[in-house]
């Protein structure tokens, strides 16, 4: 194999596929990146057996072939070569790899590409198309509440479902839940898959902030995110996701407030000043008339702050894990938000005042 390409292209490709290279040290070919040339393109692949990333770049190909190179070493080479020169990669039958850039010359050992596990093909029958920017925003707004508990593996992924002309993404970690809806006219109904959180964060990193499209193809056990020059395939989590609507739909909300998002976010942030290290104290809120008193108290000290709001319904005293609130306030952009409470023991729903795109449910902490 022999090709030549821009250093910046190669670096971008290597950095992308490295996100799907195992660093668990279990099986040497999985610590490698597969480089292949075909149809005038240079293709890099990484595969950690949970997900695979394939990145295609352009270059001059003199001789087709393929080789596996160690991900860390090859990554460092791509990173440290001078930006202004092109990089030439040449391999021989024994998988020795020569890398040249201007007056710099390196030789490393490669491996037989035979052993590299193939990234599975995903059937193109079921698909969804969405703007990269929108999709990125969707992931950002749910990724933080993806679970991380091995005893509840299905919650280590986010649910993606399409129905009634919208695409919904849902994540929950046992204490709180985020739901993001994006209306997509003409979307095919019936998508209902659970994508591992780790794959989604990688997709989020790869997505660009522009109106290029991402095509999503899915079948029973795999999903493909096709971003054009870059593709990510992930396995899907198997099993029934929770009937998530039941958590908030049957509730009776006795108190409803509308409040300035930044004010409450900053208030919670300040209340957290005295909650340090592994202290897990909750932050309490007293809602009375048109005011909320945010309070936290630990050995270090106390913080009290009053924030004005509009209230309908009953007065209330409630407490939360402050992180659960901060996370959601950070993830939405709206200026005013609506919070509905079902007593001091029931689920609490947080949503923007306008629109139906986002909904967050969090359970309180019972204090005595």
């Amino acid at each position: 194999m022999k090709f030549n390409c821009a250093k910046t292209d190669l670096l971008e490709a290597v950095s992308a596929v490295q996100r799907a290279v195992s660093n668990k040290n279990i099986f040497t070919v999985l610590e490698g990146i597969l480089i292949t040339t075909a149809d005038g393109n240079i293709v890099l692949r990484g595969n950690d057996m949970e997900k695979g990333i394939e990145y295609t770049i352009e270059g001059n190909i003199e001789e087709n072939g393929s080789v596996i190179v160690n991900s860390r070493i090859f990554g460092d080479i791509a990173r440290k070569m001078p930006a202004e020169n092109n990089i030439t990669v040449i391999t021989d039958q024994n998988y020795n790899v020569k890398i040249d850039s201007g007056s710099i010359h390196m030789d490393i050992k490669g491996m037989d590409p035979e052993g590299f596990p193939a990234i599975p093909e995903v059937d193109k029958e079921n698909s969804i198309e969405i703007d990269q920017e929108f999709f990125r925003e969707m992931i950002r707004q749910v990724i933080f509440s993806v679970g991380n508990d091995d005893s509840k593996p299905i919650f280590k992924g986010a649910l993606m479902e399409s129905k009634e002309n919208s695409l919904n993404m849902v994540s929950l970690d046992g204490y709180r839940m985020s739901i993001r809806r994006e209306s997509l006219l003409g979307t095919k109904e019936g998508m209902n898959v659970v994508v591992p959180g780790r794959a989604l964060s990688e997709v989020m990193r790869l997505l660009k902030n522009d109106d290029d499209k991402v095509n999503i193809y899915y079948e029973n056990s795999q999903i493909l995110f096709d971003l054009g020059n870059c593709k990510l395939v992930s396995n899907l989590l198997q099993g029934e996701y929770l009937n998530y609507r039941s958590i908030y739909q049957s509730q009776k909300f006795d108190t409803e407030i509308v409040i300035d998002r930044e004010k409450i976010m900053e208030g919670i942030d300040r209340a957290m000043i005295v909650i340090t290290g592994d202290n897990k104290s909750p932050v309490s809120m007293v809602i009375e008339n048109d005011e909320m008193t945010v309070n936290s108290k630990t050995e270090i000290g106390t913080v009290t702050e009053k924030i004005s709001l509009e209230k309908t319904g009953l007065d209330l005293r409630i407490a939360f894990n402050p992180k659960f609130l901060l996370d959601v306030f950070k993830s939405i952009n709206d200026e005013r938000i609506k919070i509905s409470f079902a007593g001091s023991d029931g689920p609490c729903v947080i949503e923007p005042v306008n629109g139906e795109e986002f909904l967050y449910v969090v359970l309180p902490v019972r204090t005595s």
Binding site: N25, I26, F27, N47, M49, E50, P117, A118, P120, D149, D150, S151, K152, P153, I154, F155, L172, G174, Y175, R176, M177, S221, Q222, S234, N235, L237, Q238, G239, E240, Y241, L242, N243, I247, G277, D278, K280, S281, P282, A319, N321, D345, P347, V361, L363, P364, V365, R366, T367, S368
Partner: protein, 614 residues
């Protein structure tokens, strides 16, 4: 004043005294009666209790029955059909032999026996109240025996007073029935308490089935068989891997020729065999049966027959050690330890989500992957190093302060005041990411076990919080289901208010399953099911102690989960924070389980070690 003349006690009085030795509580009666049924060759035994056995115990069997003429004899002191002369004791193969149990039971309760032999035309029913036979009539019972014991200790208030509450007594009964069922897989046992069936074994001769019935499905994949023989004895049964290990010795059953006993030598031998296999503080699961010539073992050591004496105790130790070691070694070849299995051991996702995550991705290729475990030598060395430290220190602790001339364990009573001036000490370094070294004065250095210190800090913090109020409790969106042993379910219910005070909110879904709806914020991020089960273990382990101690133990369990694991590198700032926290503690000197937190070593001591001075 009455003269103190010597008299021979009347029979009833002497029976009551004997009862004091044999009959401690309902569970002892259950044991004696079930053993009688076994001796009678029964294939099916059913046991029923109400109110912890205090108001009723009924044992029915389809065994030999008793001849109508002998019925009264069964209630005579030393009336037995099992041995004839003292010599027979040496070879006794039945469970009973003393002829003491029935008269003892009868003397402290209202008893009714209905029995018929195979040959007899009809049965005979006899009522005995406080040891006196009050009636004897014919009955139409099928061959076999039913004995019903009511109102235990109705005539001995002093003993009645010592009974525990119903649930606790039920738990003791359940325990003994379970053990006997494990000892006799060839007999089908049915056991119910307050009309709820708690245990039913098939009697299909398979120990595996009996274990399954007693402990549930989960345990089965974590067991390996033991089958060992030497010139002295044979040892068979099952022993658990590290995922089956628990925080107490509750799940250890030793059987000697089919008799459930407790024996320190055997317990020690098995644990020795497990030494590097399971974590310190965890105890292996096992059911092991020793078959040995009856002449080699004396069962007549204690009236309750729960202890035995071996003629060749040392060899028994070696046999058990070898038997279990061999089983562990063999198992290693077949079942590779699966990381993660422990986590889902008995914690299942809530009902709403029947989930099994299978990686269907790249199916064919996954076969090629081989795990590289930590080399055995390295692992062993690590484990040993830590153990030696703890064991050494623990010994030291029991000898009180003066360990050796070289180093001392700093204790509360030592009045050395080290703690108050900790911040003046210079951090000299950290060893193995575990031990903090402080130069304290020109003449003295301190060694602090970082893990023990942190455990102590967390523990006292939690304790303090708990004293002030109930713990804060995070509600769960998706409840967590936890499998419990039936015994544990009772225990959990008994201690409900304590557990709720710690911040758990739970319900029992059935006799062996709990659902957790809220958890203490302190264990946030931990595996909730595991912490809950750890708490259950500590309840079990604390036994009869008072509520305060049980709660402290439970809080300690939570503290352990919450503490920095040993081997976490700490920065100087973190070390300083740890030291100033230590300073604020009530007792910074020992971790809640009594291991020392701080050692001191003097310059003189060091000089001695290096033989600069003598």
């Amino acid at each position: 004043m009455m003269m103190n003349r010597i008299v021979i006690l009347d029979e009833n009085t002497s029976n009551q005294i004997a009862a004091g030795e044999v009959i401690e509580r309902p569970a002892s009666i259950v044991k004696e009666m079930v053993e009688n049924s076994i001796d009678a060759g029964a294939c099916n035994i059913s046991i029923e209790i109400t109110k912890g056995g205090i108001s009723l115990i009924r044992v029915s069997d389809d065994g030999s029955g008793i001849y109508a003429d002998d019925v009264e004899m069964a209630f005579e002191r030393h009336g037995t059909s099992k041995i004839r002369k003292a010599d027979d004791l040496k070879t006794v193969a039945t469970m009973g032999f003393r002829g003491e149990a029935l008269p003892s039971i009868a003397s402290v309760s209202r008893l009714e026996m209905d029995t018929r032999t195979q040959e007899a035309e009809s049965g005979v029913k006899i009522k005995v109240t406080g040891g006196d036979i009050v009636s004897k009539v014919t009955s139409n019972r099928q061959p076999g025996t039913t004995i019903t014991v009511r109102d235990l200790f109705y005539n001995v208030p002093a003993r009645y007073k010592f009974l525990k509450n119903d649930q606790t007594e039920t738990r003791y009964c359940t325990d003994i029935v379970t053990r006997i069922a494990l000892a006799h897989p060839e007999i089908s046992f049915t056991y119910s308490a307050n009309k709820t069936e708690i245990l039913r074994t098939p009697g299909d001769k398979s120990l595996q089935s009996a274990i399954y019935c007693a402990y549930g499905r989960e345990i089965m994949s974590n067991l390996f068989p033991v089958d060992y023989r030497d010139s002295l004895c044979r040892i068979t049964g099952y022993t658990g891997n590290r995922f089956a290990a628990r925080g107490n010795r509750q799940n250890q059953t030793i059987l000697v020729n089919g008799r459930y006993i407790k024996d320190a030598t055997i317990t020690k031998a098995v644990e020795k065999a497990y030494e590097t296999e399971i974590m310190k503080g965890k105890f292996p699961f096992y059911v092991l049966n020793l078959e040995i010539d009856a002449g080699q073992v004396d069962v007549n050591v204690h009236p309750a027959k729960t202890e035995v004496r071996f003629q060749r105790g040392n060899e028994i130790f070696n046999s058990f050690y070898s038997a279990v070691r061999a089983a562990i070694d063999t198992s290693r070849g077949i079942t590779p330890a699966e990381a993660g299995a422990a986590k889902i051991r008995r914690t299942e996702p809530a009902r709403e989500e029947p989930v099994v995550v299978k990686s269907t991705f790249f199916d064919n290729e996954t076969k090629k992957i081989e795990r590289k475990p930590m080399p055995a030598e390295v692992h062993e060395a690590l484990v040993n190093a830590r153990r030696q430290f703890y064991d050494g220190a623990a010994d030291v602790n029991s000898n009180f302060l003066e360990v050796s001339e070289e180093y001392k364990v700093v204790k509360e009573t030592s009045g050395m005041g080290h703690i108050r001036v900790l911040e003046n000490a210079r951090i000299a370094g950290v060893l193995f990411n575990t031990f903090i070294l402080l130069e304290y004065t020109d003449e003295e250095m301190l060694v602090i076990d970082q893990h023990a210190a942190h455990e102590r800090i967390t523990y006292e913090g939690l304790l303090k919080k708990r004293k002030e109020r109930n713990m804060d409790s995070q509600k769960l969106m998706v409840p967590i289901r936890v499998r419990l042993d039936r015994k544990d379910a009772v225990l959990v219910e008994e201690n409900r208010s304590m557990i709720e005070g710690l911040g758990f909110d739970f319900d029992l879904l059935g006799p062996d399953e709990a659902v957790i709806r809220a958890l203490p914020v302190e264990i946030f991020g931990e595996n909730v099911g595991e912490v809950f089960l750890g708490l259950v273990d500590s309840l079990e382990g604390s036994g009869k102690q008072d509520a305060d101690i049980i709660e402290k133990e439970a809080i300690y369990q939570m503290a352990c989960k919450n503490s920095v694991k040993a081997n976490t590198a700490l920065s100087d700032i973190e070390i300083n924070a740890l030291l100033s926290q230590l300073k604020g503690l009530e007792n910074p000197y020992t971790c809640p389980h009594g291991r020392p937190v701080i050692l001191t070593l003097t310059r003189r001591g060091l000089e001695k070690i290096f033989k600069r001075i003598v």
